[in-house]
C-alpha cells in the first residue's frame, strides 16, 4: 500500500457531514427491514457498512439512493434535509452508486450503458471521449464500443464505476464490490478508492468481508436485523470480534482435521473438452481432475469462467461428447445422465437455489423427491410414491441440518435463502454420498449457517467421500479445501495442496496464468 491517505472525517466537527442518515425506518409488510438507523459519512472518508444478508444494508442504501422511500426518518446532505423520489434526483444531488448485482444491459455497448445513467444531450462520440479520459485518469481501462455481454466480471465492474464517476459524485456507494474480483483486481480497486477519497469524496463501502473493512475503513457501522448494533473503528478490533457483532453470537469455528493418507479416486476427470453451450457460455478445454475419497478439492475462479459448464458436465446435465472423460467411483459415466450418476453414489448441488436446485412453488417433500426418487427405493412402493417415508426423511433433514421455519409441507420459496441452502445441502448429505459436487455452497448464506455447511462438507469427506467444491470465495476455499485448482476461461489448473499456495498465486491463476490455448492471461475473455 503505497499511499493510503490519512482519512479525515470526524475531526472536522465544524462542518456539517457530507451525508447524514437520521432515524431511518422502513417496513416490508410485517418485517422491519430498517429500524431507526443513523449514520454519518464525512468527506474524505471510506465508511464501512457491515452486516449479514438480510441485515438491512441493501434497503438502507436503496433509500439513500432514492430507489426506496423511508417510512420514517430523514437524510441530510451537507446539513440540508433532502428527499429523493427517484435515483435520478439522488444522482443530481451528487450521490453515485455501484451496484452489487450489476445493473448493466448485456446486449448494449459500454458507452450505451453509461449513457443510460447520465442525463443531458445524447452525443455518443463526446461521451466515448469522456469515458476514455475518466478510465485513464482512474486506472480503469475500458473500450467504450465493446458489448457488455463480452466483458469479464471485473471489466463490468469498471463500467459501473466509470458510469458512476462520470456524474462526478461527492458520495459513492459501493455494494459488495470485491465479491467478484481476483485479489489483484481488488487491490487495484482499493487504489482507485484511495484516490477518490483524497479528492474529498465520501465512500460508503458495503461488505461482509471483514479484512477489507479493517484495511480500508477508519469507521464502520454494523447492522444486524435492521438495526445499528455498533459503530466501530475496525482496525482496533479483530476480525473475530467484528464477526461476533455482525452475527450476534459466536461463529462456529470450522475445523479441518488432516485427511486420511490414501484414497481411491472417487471422481476422476480426464481431458474433458466441451464446446460452449450458447453464445454467452464458456467452452471447457482439456479439464483433468482427481478427487480422492477422504479429501475436499476446491475450484476457485472468477464467476463466468466455466464453473457452471463444468458443474453441468460433472452432474450429467450436459453429458460429455465422448466416453473416457468423467469417471465416478471407477465407472465411466461420461455419456450417462444425472440419475445414473446418482445411482453410483454421487450427489450434486448446483449454484442457484431456486429454479435449479429446487422448484420454489413445490413443497419441501416434493423437492426432496425430485433428486432422490430414482436412487432411493424407499420412496417408491408398488410404483407409487410413499409419502409417509418421504415426509419422515424430509423431517429428518429439517431437524438434522437446522432448517428454520420449515415444515415438510411448506413451499421451498417460502424459506429464506440460508435456510433453503441448508435444506438443499441436507437433502444430499442425508444420503451420505460417496461423491459430492457442489457449486457455491454458501452463496448468500449468513456467516453462522455458512460455517455449519462448510463443516458438513469437511465431515463428509473425512467419512470417506470425495468432495468437490466450486466457489468464488477464497476465504471459504482456504477454510475447507485440502487441494485447490483454479478455473479460468474453461481451463483448469493443476490442483495443489492448500497449504502450499498463496492468495497471490491463486489470483494469477484466476487471471489465466495456467491457460494453454490463449497464451498469457492478459488477453480478453474468449468470446462465445
Amino acid at each position: 500500500m503505497a499511499d493510503k491517505p490519512a482519512q479525515t472525517g470526524a475531526d472536522e466537527t465544524t462542518a456539517a457531514p457530507l451525508l447524514e442518515v437520521r432515524h431511518i425506518t422502513r417496513r416490508f409488510g410485517r418485517t422491519l427491514a430498517n429500524n431507526d438507523i443513523s449514520l454519518t459519512l464525512e468527506a474524505g472518508e471510506i465508511h464501512g457498512l457491515l452486516g449479514e444478508n438480510g441485515a438491512g444494508k441493501s434497503t438502507l442504501v436503496k433509500i439513500i439512493y432514492g430507489v426506496l422511500r423511508p417510512d420514517d426518518g430523514e437524510i441530510l446532505l451537507r446539513g440540508k434535509p433532502v428527499r429523493f423520489s427517484s435515483p435520478a434526483e439522488a444522482r443530481e444531488a451528487g450521490i453515485g452508486m455501484v451496484f452489487q448485482h450489476f445493473s448493466l444491459f448485456e446486449p448494449l455497448t459500454v458507452a450505451e450503458n453509461i449513457a443510460l445513467a447520465l442525463s443531458g444531450a445524447h452525443d455518443m462520440e463526446a461521451l466515448k471521449e469522456r469515458i476514455r479520459a475518466i478510465s485513464e485518469e482512474y486506472g480503469l481501462p475500458l473500450d467504450p464500443d465493446a458489448l457488455v455481454a463480452d466483458l469479464s466480471v471485473g471489466e463490468r465492474q469498471r463500467v459501473e464505476i466509470v458510469r458512476c464517476l462520470l456524474a462526478n459524485p461527492d458520495i459513492i456507494i459501493l455494494d459488495e464490490p470485491t465479491s467478484v474480483l481476483t485479489p489483484q483486481e481488488a487491490r487495484n480497486l482499493f487504489e482507485t478508492l484511495y484516490k477518490l477519497v483524497r479528492e474529498g469524496r465520501g465512500i460508503l463501502y458495503i461488505t461482509h468481508r471483514l479484512e477489507e473493512v479493517r484495511e480500508l475503513c477508519r469507521r464502520a457501522t454494523i447492522l444486524r436485523h435492521g438495526e445499528v448494533v455498533a459503530e466501530i473503528a475496525p482496525a482496533a478490533h479483530s476480525a473475530r470480534d467484528i464477526a461476533r457483532l455482525m452475527v450476534g453470537t459466536e461463529v462456529h469455528h470450522v475445523s479441518a482435521p488432516p485427511p486420511a493418507e490414501t484414497g481411491v479416486p472417487a471422481l476422476h476427470v480426464r481431458d474433458l473438452t466441451l464446446p460452449a453451450p450458447g453464445p454467452f457460455g464458456v467452452a471447457l478445454y482439456e479439464v483433468s481432475l482427481d478427487v480422492r475419497a477422504g479429501e475436499v478439492v476446491a475450484i476457485a475462479g472468477v464467476a463466468g469462467n466455466g464453473q457452471r459448464e463444468l458443474f453441468a458436465a460433472l452432474s450429467g446435465e450436459r453429458p460429455a461428447q465422448n466416453p473416457g472423460a468423467v469417471f465416478i467411483m471407477g465407472h465411466d459415466v461420461s455419456l450417462k445422465g444425472i440419475n445414473e450418476r446418482r445411482a453410483l453414489g454421487a450427489a450434486f448441488v448446483p449454484e442457484e437455489r431456486l429454479g435449479h436446485a429446487c422448484v420454489g412453488s413445490m413443497t419441501l417433500v416434493e423437492n426432496l423427491l425430485l433428486t432422490r426418487h430414482a436412487v432411493d427405493s424407499d420412496f417408491v412402493r408398488h410404483h407409487f410414491i410413499d409419502y409417509d417415508v418421504a415426509q419422515k426423511v424430509t423431517s429428518r433433514v429439517i431437524a438434522e441440518y437446522d432448517v428454520r421455519n420449515a415444515e415438510p409441507g411448506r413451499r421451498a420459496a417460502a424459506l429464506s435463502g440460508g435456510n433453503l441452502q441448508k435444506f438443499i445441502m441436507g437433502r444430499e448429505l442425508d444420503r451420505r454420498p460417496q461423491v459430492l459436487v457442489v457449486n457455491q455452497p454458501t452463496w448468500g448464506v449468513d456467516a453462522g449457517a455458512a460455517a455449519l455447511i462448510r463443516q458438513e462438507l469437511i465431515d463428509l469427506a473425512r467419512e470417506g467421500a470425495g468432495v468437490l467444491v466450486i466457489s468464488q470465495d477464497l476465504d471459504e476455499i482456504f477454510e475447507v479445501a485440502d487441494r485447490i485448482a483454479v478455473i479460468s476461461r474453461g481451463e483448469l489448473s493443476e490442483a495443489k495442496p492448500a497449504d502450499s499456495v498463496s492468495r497471490e498465486e491463486l489470483g494469477l491463476l484466476m487471471a489465466g496464468a495456467h491457460e494453454r490455448r490463449n497464451g498469457s492471461g492478459a488477453q480478453k475473455r474468449q468470446k462465445g
Binding site: 430507489v67 435515483p87 445493473s103 443510460l116 453464445p279
Partner: protein, 306 residues
Amino acid sequence: MSGLEAFLLTVIAASTPLLLAALGELVVERAGVLNLGVEGMMATGAVIAFAVALATGSPLLGVLAGALAGAAVALPFVFLTQVLAANQVASGLALALFGLGLSGLIGEGFVGQPGVRLERLHIPGLSDIPFIGPVLFGHDVLVYLSFFMTAAVAWFLFRTRAGLILRAVGTNHTAAHALGHPVRLVRTLAILFGGVMAGLAGAYLSVSYTPQWVEDMTAGRGWIALALVVFATWRPLRVLAGAYLFGAVWILGLHAQAAGYGLPPQFLSALPYLATIAALVLISRNRTLTLTNTPAMIGQPFMPER
C-alpha cells in the same frame, strides 16, 4: 400497364399493411411487452377509418381516426398489463378478440356501402413516366409513410436517447428502473405507438386496398405481422424485407392459381408463410446477433417496489 408493373403494384399493396403493423409491434416488443392484440387493433382501425372517411368525405381524416382508434382500443391492454401487471398473453388475446368483435359491431351498418378511396399521389412529370412513374411515384401517402416509418423506427431505436432507454427497458427492466427510467411510462407509450401503427394498417385496408367494409377484413394480417417481428429478430430493416417477401410470394401464389398450374390452392396459400419463415430463419442463423437483439424482458410484467 405491363404485367411486371401490375405485379409490383399489387405486391406493394399487399405488403404495406403488414409492414405498418409489424413496425408498431416491433417497438412494443423492443420495450419488453408482448401485445398479441394486433389483429384487433387493426380491425378497429379499419372500421373507424372507413366510417370517418365516409362521414366526412375525407379519406385522410379517416386514416387519422383509424390510427387514433387503434391506440384507443389498446388502452384497456395498457391498463391491464402496465397498471395491474396482468398476464400479457391473456390480455393480448383478449384485445385481439375484443377488437374483432367491436369492429364487427360498429361496421354492421357499413357492410356493402361503397367507401371513399384515399387518392394516389400524382406528381406531374414524375408520375407520368412509364413504369417508373406508377411503381415509384404513384402511391398513396400510407405507402410512403410505411417506408418512412421503417427508417424512422431504425433511427429512433439505434440513434436516439429515447430509443436507447426503450431498448434498455426491454432488456432489463429492473436495472432500467434502478437507473431512474420510467419503465411503465415507456411501455405505455410504446403500446400506444403500436396501436397507432396497427390502426394505420387497418385504415390502409379499408380506405386504400379495398375501399369498403367487410367483417374480418383484416384476415389474419395482424397475426402475420406478429410473426414477422419475431422472425425478423426485432430489426426494422428485416421487418421491411420480411413484409415484402411475404407480399411477393402471396401475389405470386395468386397468379399461379389464376394461371392454373394444377398446384393445390391450399399449398399456394401456405406458400407465403413457408417462404417467409424459411428466409427469415436462414438470415437469423447468427445466434449471438439474434440473442443480442432479442428483448430479454418480453412478456414479463414489471411492478416497481416502493
